[in-house]
């Protein structure tokens, strides 16, 4: 059998070695660009990430972020000087909303990260192991799912006291069951696949099977859920901020801003409108991105 590689005389270039992955990526990007809502989601998320990264440096009134007080310019409507107007302490809302992006990004990452870090392994073990292990993991998960997230988080934060870190801990405690449920269901279906039985037949130990076979096949739903959860975590933190259990002043956290601003409706509508809009656009962006990812990562799309 003549050997293609040798006659070619040179080791395979990067392009040939990863031809199939590149083709796959081209397929993904072509499909992703096709759908308008996914692109909208991507642009919103990119803007959000840029703001979070360089926000505090490009902002017109940097010291307003740390709570400077200008009693003279209180509650001014949006103008050329203050694009989003000023709040009750004279702080420029535009700067505080931009700075708020970083806090929200931090909230989203910590909550989603912790949730996945705890939820995914538990889900995989519960799904693959079955028997009493699965029963007890799922009972605990159902327990946490039965108790609605907000009420539980509320109880936790009320006991730990307000503050961003407590807020994040509370939401993380409430967030992981979602992942357990998702991954357990997926693992149950993958476990039936022949390649798992084939791996067992060549003597692979359980951790090897979980790591090499089960987890990679669970990745696409996990990625979709994480991207959507980024948005939902920010929304939940804003909800807690609204009840007054979120970040302490003068931290520029969107939820707290909307909650303080609500008593200034309708006369100073811009004070609550812009942070509210910021929350809405960010969460919308992450969710649309997640939806777009789900469509292209869907197994059926791979075979086309």
């Amino acid at each position: 059998m003549s050997n293609l590689e040798q006659t070619a005389g040179r080791p395979l270039a990067f392009r040939e070695r990863h031809a199939s992955q590149l083709r796959q990526l081209r397929l993904y990007s072509q499909m992703f660009r096709g759908s308008f809502s996914s692109m909208l989601g991507l642009t919103l998320v990119v803007i959000f990430l840029i703001l979070a990264a360089i926000g505090p440096y490009i902002v017109p009134f940097p010291d307003d972020i740390r709570g400077a007080v200008h009693m003279g310019s209180r509650l001014l409507p949006p103008s050329s000087e203050h694009w989003f107007g000023t709040d009750e302490m004279g702080g420029d809302i535009f700067s505080r909303v931009i700075a708020g992006a970083r806090t929200s990004l931090w909230i989203g990452i910590v909550i989603t990260g912790l949730g996945a870090l705890v939820g995914v392994p538990l889900g995989v073990i519960a799904g693959y192991k079955g028997g009493w292990i699965r029963a007890c993991i799922m009972r605990v998960t159902e327990l946490f799912l039965a108790v609605p997230g907000l009420a539980l988080a509320l109880a936790i934060v009320a006991s730990l006291g307000p503050g961003l870190t407590n807020c994040m801990i509370a939401l993380a405690i409430v967030w992981w069951p979602g992942y357990v449920r998702l991954v357990e269901a997926k693992t149950l279906s993958i476990k039936e696949e022949l390649f798992v039985e084939s791996a067992r037949s060549i003597g692979a130990r359980t951790p090897w099977i979980l790591w090499h076979h089960i987890l990679p096949n669970c990745m696409s739903p996990i990625i979709v859920k994480m991207s959507m959860d980024m948005g939902m975590a920010i929304l939940a933190a804003a909800g807690l901020g609204f009840i007054g259990l979120g970040a302490p002043p003068p931290a520029p956290e969107w939820g707290a801003m909307v909650s303080v601003a609500r008593s200034y409706m309708p006369d100073w509508w811009w004070y609550s409108f812009f942070p509210g809009a910021a929350i809405f656009l960010t969460v919308l962006g992450f969710n649309l991105l997640g939806d777009g990812l789900r469509d292209i990562l869907d197994p059926r799309s791979r075979t086309r």
Partner: protein, 552 residues
């Protein structure tokens, strides 16, 4: 000769995909006269399903007709509006499908689905809707016509409560509810058991005579086509390479592809030229024990949902000599797969022992069990699911080495390339993903993976039944070559009698978990002792004889 009922003139169809348009049908010319039965044979991917579905206007959604025309009974039906199709589908042309399990709506009763179809036809034809009672009576009558037992009680049953054969009959009844002129059958027997296949083909033949029905039947199984089609066409890669009277096409195939197709069909009658491979192999391993694998009254009970117990394998004893190919044959549900998995300890037996090379491996767990696994490997039936979609072929083949040996990354790479050579696949495939390979290529990868640790025993669970006929022959040929080269012992499981006869030395026949007959393969085929074995061989012979057109 009156004008043909259905006339397809150089019909060309493309499907828009990511990589640009794919030419699925290239200039098809085909016609069927009233009362004829036309067979279309071709392997998967030849475009036969797309062709017949386009006739009914239910082709793939992103397809576009590039050229040509389809006329039915004088009317051009290439491009019709929904109203036009409503007067054709189910009334003038109707269709039956391959796997009855998925083509019946699980949530509606049989009777309701059929009477719905009738109601739709009445609405399309514009007459006044008949009462439910009348429709119910006609449905019961139809169910009776297709030979279903006590059709009245069947009316309110659900698809999952029926067997495969009965569901196919329901589909046929549904197709006939509009008294169509043309019936298209898309691989009606492929998903059924051998014995049931024969009955369904007889039913279709009787309907053709009784109702003066015109039938187009497509299948990849030449035997099935031969039994009922008087004219047939051979399709390959979107083109009709040959068509004519079935007898002429089968006896003197004109086109090169047709010849290759016919020769690949295993003939149950042919006596295999048994090379003395088994004996030679045993000499080369003087120290190997005479019997490599032995099962002592193995039993396996499964708990069913309703709490009862169902014995998949009851009290099986067998012994496999080193170097031989040990055949296990039986219909689906006979427990042959369960038995195979128990031999390899993938499923724990309820009771009984398995002895491998003299060592009782029933009680082994942990490390000793992992050691034993090196010597016994399993080749699965469906290669599409046996390879992890997220791993490259290189990972799949190299995995056993990475798990069981201390080989370094480069050593593993080298061994993988060697194995790919052995299974005659290009080295470049190391970087490919499973979904980029064909069925045959994937099975070769599975075989490479199985022999990576040069085991002594290979258990093959229907390795070829998921593949096309032409590819099946290559794989069987290749398996025998590997066995000889690596002096392996095979346990070969299949429901295809011709294949068993062709390559197995000794065979056992299983029925509902028990061995009904065992012995030398040749002796079983020439003088079967058990009634069940006789019936099995008889139905197998019928389809294969039709295929080779010997005087029955």
């Amino acid at each position: 000769m009156s004008a043909p009922l259905l006339d397809i003139k150089d019909y060309t169809l493309d499907i828009a995909t990511f990589d640009g348009p794919v030419h699925v049908l290239k200039g098809i010319n085909l016609s069927v006269n009233r009362g004829d039965t036309l067979g279309i044979v071709g392997e998967s991917g030849s475009g036969k399903t797309v062709l017949v579905r386009s006739v009914m206007g239910i082709g793939p959604s992103n397809s576009a007709v590039e050229g040509g025309q389809i006329t039915f009974d004088g009317q051009d039906i290439t491009r019709l509006d929904p109203k036009g199709w409503a007067r054709i589908r189910g009334i003038r042309i109707s269709m039956i499908f391959q796997d009855p399990m998925t083509y019946l709506n699980p949530l509606f009763s049989i009777g309701q689905q059929i009477s719905d179809v009738m109601a739709a036809h009445e609405r399309a034809a514009g007459e006044g809707g008949s009462t439910k009672g009348a429709r119910r009576a006609r449905t019961v009558d139809l169910l009776d016509q297709v030979g279903l037992p006590n059709p009245a009680s069947l009316y309110d049953q659900y698809p999952h409560q029926l067997s495969g054969g009965m569901r196919q009959r329901v589909l046929i009844a549904m197709a006939l509810s509009g008294k169509p002129d043309l019936l298209i059958a898309d691989e009606p027997t492929t998903a059924l058991d051998v014995t049931v296949q024969a009955q369904v083909l007889d039913l279709i033949k009787s309907l053709v005579d009784k109702l003066n029905l015109t039938v187009i039947m497509i299948s990849h199984d030449i035997g099935a086509i031969a039994t009922i089609a008087d004219r047939c066409a051979v399709m390959y890669k979107g083109e009709i390479v040959e068509q004519g009277r079935t007898a002429d096409v089968l006896r003197e195939p004109q086109h090169e592809y047709t010849r290759q197709l016919l020769s690949a069909v295993p003939d149950i009658e042919a006596k295999p030229a048994r090379t003395a491979v088994a004996a030679a192999c045993r000499e080369r391993q003087p120290d190997a024990p005479a019997t490599l694998l032995e099962a002592i009254n193995l039993k396996k009970l499964f708990k069913t949902q309703s709490g009862g117990e169902f014995s998949a394998v009851s009290d099986v004893n067998l012994s496999v000599a080193t170097g031989e190919i040990f055949g296990v044959v039986g219909e689906s549900g006979s427990g042959k797969s369960t038995l195979a998995r128990m031999l390899l300890r993938l499923i724990e037996p309820t009771s009984g022992n398995v002895v491998f090379a003299g060592q009782n491996i029933t009680g082994l767990t942990g490390e000793p069990l992992r050691q034993i696994r090196r010597h016994m490997q399993f080749v699965f039936q469906n290669p599409h699911s046996a390879l992890n979609g997220r791993h490259t072929i290189g990972d799949a083949v190299g995995e056993p080495l990475r798990i069981q040996t201390r080989m370094s990354r480069r050593e593993v790479e080298a061994k993988v390339e060697a194995l790919l050579d052995i299974v005659q696949l290009p080295k470049l495939f190391k970087y490919r993903y499973p979904h980029e390979l064909s069925g045959g290529q994937k099975q070769r990868v599975c075989i490479a993976r199985a022999i990576a640790l040069n085991p002594r025993l290979l258990i093959l669970d229907e390795p070829t039944s998921a593949l096309d006929i032409s590819v099946q022959a290559q794989i069987l040929e290749f398996l025998q070559q590997v066995r000889a080269e690596f002096n392996l012992t095979y346990v070969f499981i299949s429901h295809d009698l011709a294949v068993i006869r062709q390559i197995c030395d000794r065979t056992i026949v299983m029925k509902r978990g028990e061995i009904v007959e065992h012995g030398n393969t040749e002796q079983i085929f020439t003088s079967p002792r058990q009634e069940y074995t006789k019936a099995l061989i008889e139905s197998g012979r019928k389809t294969s004889r039709a295929a080779t057109l010997q005087a029955s």
